[in-house]
Symmetry: C2
DNA sequence: AAATAATATAAGCATATTCTTATTTGTTTG
DNA sequence: CAAACAAATAAGAATATGCTTATATTATTT
């Protein structure tokens, strides 16, 4: 892997919101609407962030009906798992979403 | 470590030239003039890049006479060593510098 | 097929990044 | 202390990034 590709990968990681998305996806796959709920940012903002993560091959998407689920990818990068491990725990956010009955938006 | 700090760290890693600097420092400590020689960019550009790496605590500096040597730091980051391992080998560049009699600029 | 829902894309603006040249600061040496 | 050298900082221009609102695409449902 060359310097350009590696720089692009780290560039994708160099944003607070995208790191939060990865921390959430570490817990479980989520659709865009769920990310919008948790992150409290607009839907286009979420779409743009996940697209950057996808271009860097850090996440992958799968369409399921009218929803698009995102999940961790990044098999390409030997350092990725240790980066993921370094991220703060956001499982409480997902718990909260479920408690509010909003997890399951996408079902 | 919070998301902001982690994002800043990865932002510092999100540049091709800075990754090349880290790949070089992995081989040995170098002063600014040596980095200028190898990277073929201007001296202020090198200074600005190493400052960003230093602000992110990825490198540290030590003044030695009129020269400032940079070396790897980054003890803070558990993922750092695996990132460093992923960088392409630039030892040939340092070999070339020495062959041209320019390593030892800073002595 | 029309209406609705979820997501993606486009366009425009504000801010951030990176480069360049010019200048300043710090160190050594005559 | 003055001259010379190394590195840092400043300022300005060009490009990139991230946000917002508006619109387009894709899938479902009736």
């Amino acid at each position: 892997m060359d310097f350009d590709q590696l720089a692009d990968c780290h560039k994708a990681l160099g944003d607070k919101t995208r790191l939060r998305i990865l921390a959430l996806l570490r817990e479980e796959d989520l659709c865009v609407g769920e990310l919008v709920e948790i992150l409290k940012i607009t839907q286009p903002a979420v779409s743009q962030h996940v697209r950057k993560l996808r271009n860097a091959r850090l996440v992958k998407e799968r369409r399921q009906g009218q929803w698009v689920y995102y999940s961790l990818d990044g098999k390409d990068y030997p350092f990725y798992s240790s980066i993921l491990q370094s991220l703060p725990d956001l499982s409480a956010e997902i718990t909260r979403l479920k408690a509010e009955g909003k997890k399951g938006i996408c079902t």
